[in-house]
């Protein structure tokens, strides 16, 4: 009965009026307290909109929406720096878990109540930009408040639609191999050095799996999502995911990119698709049961403690026809409907400044996107060679997106697992996926 609709509540359970009465008494006290805190914040929110002239005199209360609770401490540090410059602007951070973030954002956008500034990602950007929910940064770029050339070009492009840019990234991430050197040693397998090929990767993974299988240890695995897994191999094979209004899945190169994972699983070098659903690859890695985890730079923050972190080394992704990695970064964007646009854009500007990016980088959870501020990230784990993530910029390709990315992302998640598990031939699955994806793209 837990699914009872909100209006109706599940079937009852009992306790007499005593319960109601005691709860009631309890609540009256609490009620008073909460309504005070309530009124302070809402009056602050409605009061004092823009209209100030000199920027530092700005008075406003802004809402800043984001989804990652673990990044809040770093964000608060940046906000402290912002408030030193703009003491009159109060920023309230609103965390919504990722699983509900876009549901909430959609509801807010449909009602013109978006947070003044909020996190945007590549897959959702075009949907919001094309539907006029975001404020362009054109004027801020003209005035010099934001300098897009200081950011990876791939990410400037990711947040540009029809020649208009709406945001710069606050951070970026690339994909590489996280290796557990202790497991390599245990298996008696040499750690690869420098660039390596798909074949070498597959062989290394298989060797480790074969040696350590009795202990439940596997050679290599990935998150089985596009960004950290198959988009990378598709690009390495020279394929595409989406090309204008067409799906790229129906090409031989893209099929090879998918086949890479099917082979890895089939050879026993990787846990099965089901195993990776129950326990994700990063969890396999942190519990010391996976020698190589193909994952994003953000995984760094999960390695602060625990037995594995002392034996971690980062390796570049293996090379197919070419070297490639997917780059993505979250951008700070301003809502077109914001009632405090001036203050919101001041906050956006500040987040894009070298100073803020430096602060963010030092906190160590993400790679700041501003050129030249990344060194703190690389230095945060001596000996682990985090520099690989930064070097990968040279051959990074932006995360594939379109106007309604979510529609075909859902198709990928539906169909591809059958290809990875070997339940259906890769060519069949990619053909079906390409056809359905073309339809979805056609609706955009």
């Amino acid at each position: 009965m837990h699914q009872a609709p909100r209006s109706t509540s599940p079937l009852g359970r009992p306790a007499k009026a005593v319960l109601a009465a005691s709860v009631l008494a309890l609540g009256l006290a609490a009620c008073g307290g909460s309504s005070t805190s309530q009124s302070t914040s809402s009056s602050a929110a409605s009061g004092a909109a823009g209209a100030a002239s000199a920027s530092t005199d700005l008075k406003a209360t802004l809402t800043y929406g984001l989804w990652d609770q673990t990044q809040v401490p770093a964000v608060q540090k940046v906000l402290a720096g912002f408030n030193a410059k703009y003491p009159g602007v109060k920023v309230n951070v609103n965390v919504t878990p990722y699983a509900d973030y876009w549901t909430k954002l959609q509801t807010q956008a449909s009602s013109k109540t978006l947070p003044d500034v909020f996190w945007m990602n590549g897959p959702n950007f075009q949907l919001y930009a094309a539907n006029k929910q975001l404020a362009p940064i054109t004027d801020q770029v003209k005035s010099g408040a934001i300098d897009p050339t200081k950011y990876p070009k791939a990410l400037d492009d990711l947040y540009t639609l029809d020649g208009v840019q709406y945001g710069v990234p606050k951070d970026f991430d690339t994909i590489a191999i996280w290796a557990n050197t202790a497991l390599f040693k245990e298996a008696g397998v040499a750690l690869p050095t420098g660039d390596w090929t798909w074949q070498q990767f597959q062989d290394t993974a298989k060797q480790i799996s074969d040696k350590l299988k009795s202990k439940g240890i596997y050679g290599a695995a990935a998150g089985m999502d596009g960004q950290t897994t198959y988009y990378d191999t598709i690009f390495q094979a020279g394929g595409t995911v989406v090309d204008g209004k067409k799906s790229g899945y129906d090409s031989a190169a893209s099929q090879q990119g998918i086949q890479f994972w099917t082979d890895l699983i089939k050879s026993g070098a990787s846990p099965s698709v089901k195993q990776l659903t129950d326990t994700t690859a990063d969890q396999w890695f942190t519990s010391g049961k996976l020698a190589m985890y193909q994952g994003g730079s953000w995984f760094r923050s999960a390695l602060t403690k625990g037995p594995v972190s002392s034996s971690v080394k980062v390796l570049p992704l293996p090379m197919g026809k070419q070297k490639a990695t997917v780059i993505h970064g979250v951008a700070n964007v301003v809502a077109a409907s914001s009632k405090n646009k001036e203050a919101a854009q001041a906050l956006q500007d500040y987040f894009a400044s070298q100073e803020a990016e430096q602060t963010l980088g030092s906190a160590g959870s993400v790679i700041p996107a501003y050129t030249g501020t990344q060194s703190t990230f690389a230095a945060s784990m001596p000996g682990a060679d985090l520099q690989v993530f930064l070097d990968a910029l040279a051959y990074a390709k932006p995360l594939p997106v379109s106007a309604n990315t979510a529609a075909w992302n859902a198709l990928e998640t539906d169909l591809l697992p059958d290809a990875f598990s070997g339940a259906r031939p890769v060519a069949d699955v990619t053909k079906e996926l390409a056809a359905k994806m073309d339809t979805a793209l056609g609706h955009e």
Binding site: S9, G12, R13, P14, L19, V23, Q38, P97, Y98, S110
Partner: protein
């Protein structure tokens, strides 16, 4: 039956490695009380607890009042369109909550109540289920009581309030319990309608702790237990009343 709870307690005191070990650990090597400490670091727990309590109390009180009034009218008064209106009210039971989300949000926004206590509690003040439940209870009462009171010159409200209401107390307690549970546990609406984590109830706060990327199982377990604890304790303390009242709900 209680195993998942016991397991939850054990895991909340374990390390992440122990949770994920292939041979289950029956008891952690060292009790990790720090997991609970972390919950308080990551969530404004007391604020959220207070919000949960306030929402729960307001909704329960409102449902008790509105549903007994309407339930009484539907059961014991005569008026045009009674059957049709009752049918319409009950049809709401059939619609999943997700369907209402966008419209309710826009209405609450129109009322200027976003991110306020008012917005949080509003749609939940009105319960079709409660109306159904109370109507059932009132239907079962004998008619003579009303007649006697009417002869004494009482008006319909007095009859309802003084004579009939005391007789349906067991069912009111059922409604109270249902309402408490559902207000306490509700997730989607508070997540969408609140902006500040201080204004969220515990259910929503708990969800912000659970992220898809890298999960710290023990801390999530500890947070879950803390979020459930107040209601669990309340129900264990009041179990006799709870169970007696509940039992009566199926037996008109």
């Amino acid at each position: 039956m209680a195993f998942p709870f016991v397991w939850q307690v054990i895991m909340s005191l374990s390390t992440n490695a122990e949770v994920q070990s292939v041979t289950p650990h029956v008891w952690p090597h060292r009790l990790q009380w720090g997991n609970y400490h972390q919950v308080f670091e990551q969530l404004p727990f007391l604020h959220q607890l207070r919000t949960s309590v306030v929402i729960t109390v307001i909704r329960t009180a409102a449902q008790l009042l509105l549903c007994t009034l309407a339930g009484y009218a539907f059961a014991r008064m005569r008026f045009r369109g009674r059957g049709a209106l009752l049918g319409i009210v009950l049809s709401i039971l059939m619609v999943p909550a997700q369907v209402y989300l966008l419209s309710q949000y826009q209405i609450v926004k129109g009322l200027g109540l976003l991110d306020s206590l008012g917005g949080l509690v509003l749609p939940g003040l009105f319960s079709a289920f409660g109306t159904y439940l109370m109507r059932t209870a009132f239907l079962a009462l004998p008619q003579e009581l009303e007649e006697a009171a009417r002869l004494d010159g009482a008006n319909p409200f007095q009859i309802f309030w003084r004579v009939m209401l005391p007789l349906v107390r067991p069912t009111m307690s059922v409604l109270a319990i249902t309402s408490v549970l559902w207000s306490w546990n509700e997730l989607l609406w508070p997540l969408v309608v609140t902006t500040y984590s201080d204004h969220m109830p515990l259910s929503a706060g708990l969800a912000t702790l659970i992220s898809d990327r890298t999960i710290n199982y023990p801390v999530v377990m500890a947070a879950s237990l803390l979020a459930m604890a107040p209601v669990l304790v309340l129900f264990i303390l009041l179990q006799r009343r709870v169970i007696d009242g509940l039992a009566s709900s199926g037996l008109k």
